[in-house]
C-alpha cells in the first residue's frame, strides 16, 4: 500500500472523509452493537445489522449535520433492523427465534408484583438475569429501556431515534419499568 502516497485529490477527499467518519462513528460501535443485539436478538443478525448501519452512515456522512453522532447512528441502526423485519415478514421466512415478539407478550412473567409490604426493595439479580429480563420485554418497551439504560440517551434523543413524541417516550419507559419490576421480582434466580 506504499504507492498510495501519490493518490489523486479526489482520493484524498474520500480518504479524509472515511477517516473523519471512522473517528466520529467507530467509538459508538459497542452502542450500535448492543442495541442491535436487543433488537435482532441473535449475535449474527446483530453483526450484520451493525455493519449495514455503518455502511449506510458512511454514505450519508456528507449530509450529516447532527444530531449528535450516537443518536444518529442508532436511528440508522433502528431503520436497518426494521427493514430487515419487514423483509422477513414479506417473505415469511421461518425464523428460529423462540422469543418472537408475540410470544414474548404471552410470557406470564410480568403479573402484578407479588412483593409483600415488608420487602420494599427489589431483589438482587445477577447481570445475566437482568439482561434476560430486558431482552424479554416486548417492543417498543424493550427499545425504549435499552436506549435509556444501555445507550444512555436523553428523552429527546430517544424520541428522535424512535420517531415518536417525548410524551410517548415517557409513557413507554414508565410501562417498561413497570413490566420489568414485575418480572424482576418474580424472576427465578433472585437472590433474596
Amino acid at each position: 500500500m506504499a504507492g498510495r502516497d501519490t493518490m489523486t485529490g479526489e482520493g484524498n477527499g474520500e480518504h479524509d472523509k472515511a477517516r473523519r467518519f471512522r473517528d466520529a462513528a467507530l467509538p459508538y460501535l459497542d452502542d450500535v452493537y448492543s442495541l442491535a443485539r436487543y433488537l435482532m436478538r441473535n449475535p449474527a443478525d446483530a453483526e450484520d445489522a451493525a455493519q449495514e448501519c455503518y455502511m449506510r452512515a458512511l454514505r450519508h456522512f456528507d449530509s450529516y449535520r447532527g444530531p449528535e453522532m450516537k443518536p444518529w447512528l442508532l436511528t440508522i441502526l433502528r431503520n436497518v433492523c426494521n427493514a430487515e423485519f419487514a423483509r422477513r415478514r414479506k417473505q415469511e421466512i421461518p425464523t428460529d427465534f423462540p422469543e418472537h415478539e408475540s410470544a414474548a407478550e404471552e410470557l406470564p412473567i410480568w403479573q402484578e408484583p407479588t412483593s409483600s409490604p415488608e420487602t420494599t426493595m427489589v431483589r438482587r439479580q445477577d447481570g445475566d438475569t437482568i439482561r434476560r429480563l430486558v431482552a424479554a420485554l416486548p417492543q417498543p418497551f424493550r427499545e425504549a429501556i435499552v436506549l435509556r439504560e444501555i445507550n444512555d440517551l436523553s428523552y429527546h434523543e430517544i424520541a428522535e431515534v424512535a420517531g415518536v413524541p417525548v410524551g410517548t417516550v415517557m409513557s413507554r419507559l414508565a410501562r417498561a419499568r413497570s413490566m420489568l419490576r414485575a418480572a424482576w421480582n418474580g424472576a427465578e434466580g433472585a437472590i433474596p
Binding site: E14, H15, A18, R19, R20, F21, R22, D23, A24, L26, P27, Y28, L29, D30, D31, Y33, S34, R37, E47, Q51, Y54, M55, L58, R65, G66, P67, E68, M69, K70, T120, M121, V122, R124, Q125, D126, G127, I130, R131, V134, R148, E149, D152, L153, S154, Y155, H156, E157, E160, P165, V166, G167, T168, M170, S171, L173, A174, R177, L180, R181, W184
Partner: protein
C-alpha cells in the same frame, strides 16, 4: 397529582429529566403516597442495578475489523498521526434539533434542557486539548498522591468548588492526583485517574457547559469524552479508554456522590 401522573414523573425523576419544580411535585406526592414511594425506591434500585450490571455489550473484534476493512482506508492511513488542537474538526456536529412536538400535555409542561450547544462544543474541544496538554511530560499533576484525603483539601483556596475525589482503586481506576487547569478562561479542578496504562482527566467546575439532562458521551480527535451534571457541578471525563469503560467510570463517580443506604 394522581398516581398515574406520578408514575411517569417518577421515571423522569430517576432519569434526571425533571426540572426542580416538577421534581418537587413528585417528591411531595411520594411523601404522601406509600405505593408511589415504594415504586420510586424500587425503580431507583432497578435503575442502579441495571447500570451496575454493565449490559452494554462489546462488539466482537471481527465485527470491528470487518467494518474498518469496508471503509476506504489504507492500513497506513489508519494509523497516521492525528492532528491535535484542531477544533474545526467538530464543526459538523450541529446543535441537537429540538423539533419534536411535545404532544402529551404532561410532556409539554416539562422543561427539558437543550443540549449540544455551540458553547458545549467549544468546551468539549478545550477539554480535549487540556487532556492532551496534561499528557506532556511534567504537566499531569500539581499534587501527586493516591490519597483522596490529600487531593481534596489541596483544591481548597484554589477553587470555589470542592471537587469530589474518590478512591476507585478497587474498581480498577487508580487515583493519581490533582491539577489546576483552565477551561474557557476559568480555573477548573482536574482529578487524574489511571486505568491500566491510560490516563483519565476528570474536569470539575460549577458551570462548565455539561449536559443537564443526562450523561453525554462523544469522541473527539480519537479521545472519548463524557460529560454530565450532578450535584450542582459539571463533569468532563476525557480519556483514550473505551467508551463503555469511561461510562463505567462516570457512573462510579456519580454513585460515589450518592452513597447507597443513605435513603
Amino acid at each position: 397529582m394522581n398516581c398515574d401522573d406520578s408514575e411517569i414523573l417518577i421515571n423522569a425523576l430517576i432519569d434526571g429529566e425533571l426540572d426542580a419544580g416538577h421534581a418537587h411535585d413528585v417528591e411531595k406526592h411520594v411523601a404522601a403516597c406509600s405505593a408511589c414511594a415504594e415504586k420510586l425506591t424500587e425503580y431507583r434500585e432497578m435503575h442502579d442495578a441495571v447500570s451496575a450490571a454493565g449490559l452494554k455489550m462489546s462488539a466482537p473484534a471481527h465485527l470491528r475489523s470487518r467494518i474498518e476493512k469496508a471503509l476506504p482506508l489504507t492500513s497506513a492511513r489508519v494509523i497516521a498521526p492525528r492532528k491535535f488542537f484542531q477544533p474545526s474538526r467538530r464543526t459538523f456536529f450541529g446543535g441537537f434539533a429540538v423539533g419534536t412536538a411535545l404532544s402529551a400535555a404532561l410532556a409539554a409542561s416539562l422543561v427539558f434542557t437543550v443540549v449540544g450547544s455551540d458553547q458545549q462544543q467549544t468546551i468539549a474541544n478545550e477539554v480535549v486539548s487540556a487532556h492532551i496538554r496534561s499528557l506532556q511530560a511534567g504537566h499531569l499533576m500539581d499534587v501527586e498522591t493516591s490519597d483522596q484525603h490529600t487531593v481534596k483539601p489541596w483544591f481548597n483556596g484554589r477553587l470555589d468548588v470542592a471537587p469530589p475525589v474518590v478512591d476507585l482503586t478497587a474498581q480498577g481506576f487508580r487515583l493519581l492526583g490533582g491539577r489546576l487547569d483552565y477551561i474557557d478562561g476559568e480555573p477548573v479542578a482536574s482529578v487524574v485517574y489511571q486505568r491500566r496504562k491510560h490516563i483519565i482527566n476528570l474536569f470539575v467546575a460549577r458551570r462548565l457547559g455539561a449536559s443537564q439532562a443526562s450523561a453525554r458521551l462523544e469522541a473527539i480527535q480519537g479521545y472519548n469524552v463524557r460529560n454530565w451534571s450532578e450535584a450542582g457541578l459539571d463533569f468532563w471525563a476525557v480519556s483514550d479508554i473505551a467508551p463503555d469503560e469511561l461510562n463505567e467510570f462516570g457512573q462510579m463517580i456519580v454513585a460515589a456522590l450518592h452513597p447507597t443506604g443513605s435513603s
